[in-house]
């Protein structure tokens, strides 16, 4: 599909996601709704991956770049955290490590338990290295 059309498709999905987000009773960001919506469009074959391949590759390969202004924007919020900067930093660092570890440990344990219950088939590590 032509690049302009691909951009149109992706942005169109985002517009719908944003609209749903506005009317959603709980706080779900438009981008997350758009992700689910795009997945459903692919799943039910309304869209093919090839329809948006180039545009998606551009966005995914450069994803970190799009976060630069958000990071620079911390400057605007610095005044709000300045007085407690050290304890807040400590909380951010420690909770990130704890959350990462707890999540990884849970996934590992559940896969191992599933593997044992399922006769050692699922999660026996056959997909661990790819």
């Amino acid at each position: 599909m032509k690049l302009m059309l691909q951009i149109g498709v992706v942005f169109g999905v985002c517009l719908i996601g944003q609209t749903v987000s506005v009317f959603s009773p709980i706080a779900v960001p438009g981008s997350v709704i758009s992700m689910v919506l795009l997945f459903l469009l692919l799943f039910f074959r309304v869209l093919k991956v090839d329809h948006i391949r180039q545009k998606a590759d551009f966005l995914l390969k450069n994803m970190a770049f799009f976060f630069i202004p958000a990071g620079v924007g911390i400057l605007a919020n610095f005044a709000a955290v300045r007085d407690h900067i050290l304890p807040l930093l400590a909380v951010v660092v420690l909770t990130t490590i704890l959350t990462f570890g707890a999540t990884a440990f849970t996934v590992r344990t559940v896969i191992a338990v599933q593997g044992k219950l399922g006769g050692g088939k699922a999660g026996s590590g056959e997909e661990s290295h790819e």
Partner: protein, 227 residues
């Protein structure tokens, strides 16, 4: 000169140059914390501060870049779609991992804030630090935190996740890409996911699923929180 700086081209050009320089430094040094995003943010902040350019001027271009965050998050759907068989097979570990991770994030933020003697408002603001910004702002407002503090904590958490994900993967002896992806997405939302995508397609897809699940689960978890 201010007319030059408040042109959208200023923020965009500065960001692109800083990012490309970040990629160059990452390639040359191969250091874990020589992360292009981190380097770019530091460079942009340095230029803005040293040249006394108002943040609003940078944001004229910066906001145009931020527009792409929505579409960039949305197209993670493609990775999830191509990894769908794994998502189906491992849904339970993915879901439970995200649930436990979100509980630990909210709970440990609460406990640590108490330990460090931070007040209630700051504590509430910090409890949403592991979910992406739109989730965090909405929750922070509804539980009586300061969105500005939440945003700062969220962005910093994301950058930390993106920079240290490879290190944490080794530290926790992670060999399974599903485990790595879910851990990155749950602990450091979309910014961490940008690194997960670089590490591998399975990691990227799992991180994408985890960031969405963690956000929704955190909305629910914080409904039951009284601080």
């Amino acid at each position: 000169m201010n007319e030059v700086f408040s042109s959208p081209f200023f923020g965009i050009t500065l960001s692109i140059l800083a990012y490309e320089l970040g990629i160059l430094i990452e390639r040359k040094t191969k250091l874990a914390f020589a992360n292009p995003l981190l380097i770019a943010i530091i460079l942009c902040v340095a230029v803005i501060e040293l040249a006394h350019i108002p943040l609003e001027s940078y944001n004229v271009g910066g906001n145009l870049i931020s527009v792409f965050l929505g579409p960039a998050t949305a197209v993670i759907a493609i990775s999830i779609y191509s990894q769908f068989s794994k998502l189906k097979k491992y849904f339970l570990p993915i879901f439970l991992g995200t649930l436990v991770g979100s509980l630990v994030s909210v709970g440990s933020a609460y406990l640590l804030c108490r330990v460090f003697g931070l007040d209630d408002v700051l504590t509430r603001s910090m409890m949403v630090k592991s979910v992406s910004t739109p989730f965090a702002v909405a929750i922070s407002k509804s539980i009586g935190g300061l969105p500005a503090v939440s945003v700062a904590a969220v962005v910093l958490t994301g950058i930390l996740g993106a920079v240290f994900a490879p290190l944490l993967i080794r530290l926790f002896g992670i060999k399974n890409p599903i485990e790595a992806g879910v851990a990155i997405g749950t602990s450091s939302h979309a910014v961490g996911t940008s690194k997960a995508i670089v590490i591998g397609e399975t990691e990227g897809a799992m991180s994408g699923i985890a960031l969405a699940l963690a956000g929704i689960l955190t909305v629910i978890i914080t409904l039951f929180v009284k601080v």
